[in-house]
Symmetry: C2
Subunit: 381 residues, 2 copies
């Protein structure tokens, strides 16, 4: 029997959470991890230790893989192009991934497609700060074009001197600078789709997400108080981006909902935190559909299996041993689904999440937050 082998570059929790889906489908995963203690390396036998930006590691890793995919977006585009030239299937391909790797390239592409974005401008020279400030006004947002994640690489600047300081800081690190309007959003939404090389796409229910210090903390699926019309509009934006940028695998489109319009905030071309609810709340999780999509297999139903699912991330606090707190959380709520990433607990670090499904969103939020707060030591009763 020919077992497909999927190579995942990066050993974080996203690679780890692909493994349950891979086990069920009879897919063999191979992971390229920095260390054998990485989240994914703990649970995937076929593990190679190496760096994602080292060609020797990449080519050794790629040999024998049917498809190569990612836990993160930080692999140098030129290496991915080289792998493709050598005949390896890289999904998403570098021609698509570059839009998730570089926020300026992304803004240019989306604006060209007429997809609604916040007011933005590339800040090439320090003088550009004034011109952007004159249209967007202070405070506004500066971002490093490449390498950011979870709120890293994003600064809100209140005045010219702060903006110039951030500009210098970013450019000193050989990175480009993107300025964006500080969108007065009412809330954030996320639209996720899976797309396969032969062009099949499925759209997940649009979710509402809330961040703490730039880190995704709470997701409600489906988003409350969202009309069918606006939900479909958000799904259409994600489907259109996936098609136009030729994305394969999962695409997450993070959105600002200003009340009157929906603007694209960020793109992620891989399973994404805003889709972790799907592990317990949909027919086909984002991890299973990512694998099916990159293997060019027909996609699974993204339909929800219950009226609502709430996800809350576990962000590390002072409590090092999560398993002790398990007993109380599990005894209190037999319906809670705990997911741990096998990561050492450090303050603010994503170390797991909880999901809970049911009818009443208020009730689900209370249950999920209690579990998350108890597990991380925010509360002790």
């Amino acid at each position: 029997m020919s077992t497909p082998r999927v190579g995942v570059i990066g050993g974080g929790q996203l690679a780890r959470m692909m493994q349950p889906a891979a086990i069920n489908l009879g897919i063999q995963l191979r992971v390229l991890a920095k260390s054998s203690s990485d989240s994914a390396a703990q649970v995937i036998p076929d593990c190679l230790i190496g760096a994602h930006d080292d060609w020797e590691s990449l080519i050794k890793f790629a040999e024998g893989c049917d498809v190569i995919t990612f836990d993160h977006e930080h692999v140098p585009t030129e290496f991915l192009a080289k792998l493709q030239e050598l005949g390896f299937a890289v999904r998403p391909g570098p021609h698509a991934l570059k839009f998730a790797q570089d926020k300026i390239v992304m803004r240019e592409a989306l604006s060209k497609l007429g997809i609604p974005c916040p007011l933005w401008q590339e800040i090439i020279a320090i003088e550009d700060i004034d011109s952007f400030a004159s249209t967007a006004g202070y405070p506004f947002v500066l971002k490093s074009a490449r390498g950011g994640y979870d709120g890293n690489g994003v600064w809100v600047v209140d005045d010219k001197s702060a903006a110039e300081k951030v500009f210098t800081e970013i450019t000193n690190r050989q990175n480009q600078v993107l300025a964006e309007q500080l969108v007065p959003f009412k809330r954030e939404l996320a639209a996720q789709v899976a797309r396969s090389p032969h062009g099949q796409s499925v759209a997940y229910p649009v979710v509402q997400s809330a961040q703490t210090n730039g880190i995704c903390h709470e997701v409600i699926s489906p988003s409350p108080d969202l009309s069918d019309e606006r939900a479909i509009a958000a799904q259409e934006i994600a489907l259109r981006i996936a098609k136009e940028l030729d994305v394969t695998g999962m695409l997450a489109v993070e959105l600002f909902d200003t009340g009157s319009e929906i603007l694209v905030n960020e793109l992620a071309m891989r399973p994404h935190n805003s889709g972790h609810w799907s592990m317990d709340g949909s027919v086909t999780s984002q991890f299973e559909n990512h694998l099916r999509a990159i293997l060019d297999w027909p996609l699974g139903s993204p339909a929800a299996t219950s009226p609502a699912t709430v996800m809350v991330n576990l962000l590390g606090k002072d409590v090092g041993d999560l398993h002790t707190a398990f007993r109380h959380v599990m005894a209190r709520d037999p319906g809670i689904k705990v997911h741990l990433y096998g990561k050492e607990v450090r303050p603010g670090r994503k170390i797991g999440h909880v999901n809970v499904s049911g009818d009443n969103i208020e009730d689900l939020l209370a249950r999920a937050w209690h579990a998350a707060d108890y597990l991380t030591g925010v509360i002790d009763e």
Copy 2:
């Protein structure tokens, strides 16, 4: 962070299917497998190659495990007792496991508890055949007391000479002989419970199962046409057996439904084929609850997440490559959940299963059987 390590003796699909649950809960599995190509060895990095009936392998494997459990019931009781004496937590313990290892010991215990069983008798000498035949009549069933699985070790005998032949065959292999009435059952049911060392138990919905050549082939959850009263009676039988025999982990009680009464057929003290539906159809799968139970963690809700779930096993036919058939099955039915065990396809061998959940059992049966038949090559359209 203290990650619990659970040792699983046996590298089959049951051990394999514990791994997704273990990954989510942050539990490290260690497996004792016969070969690195075993179903579970493919997906569990901490894998020791050795035999389940070799003391040196067992003790090497056990070192460092917080709890030891099983993929099958074939580990010699004396070795398990020895592990316990050395301080290892063995769950279920040998004092419970012996009732699943030896069908005569099981019948004696259940009869003593007043739990309804088919008419039975241990056949110690060849003369006992006549005495059993005079009460039960031909045809009846002869079973080897130990070592049977999936219909192996079970014979239906039509007359005295056939019975004597089987008796000689079994006793020649140093095994004991159990005679049982051939129950004129209308259908088979199964009741599954999880029980933890501190005595918490949960009962799964009672399911209807159908076998082909002694191998479980189809499960409908919950069982159709079963009154609440009879379903609860079946759950109570399973809960009582778990408690009285001090079972820890999952217990499956296979039952005959004669229309007028429910009789116990077999016991399994581990996740069981009749509970595979729970992987996609319940809040907490049998694999997750097995791990939670043996770790003495509070148990998860066994409630169904949809009105019905149908499971059909994939029994190997002539088609060696299941992944090619995937594309058609997945394209035809985006709601089908395919589970493959990474096993080489051999005729009659369990190589996977499909689950499908929904409202209408007829529809679910048609969808699950189509997928299973297509995947195994019984049909090609």
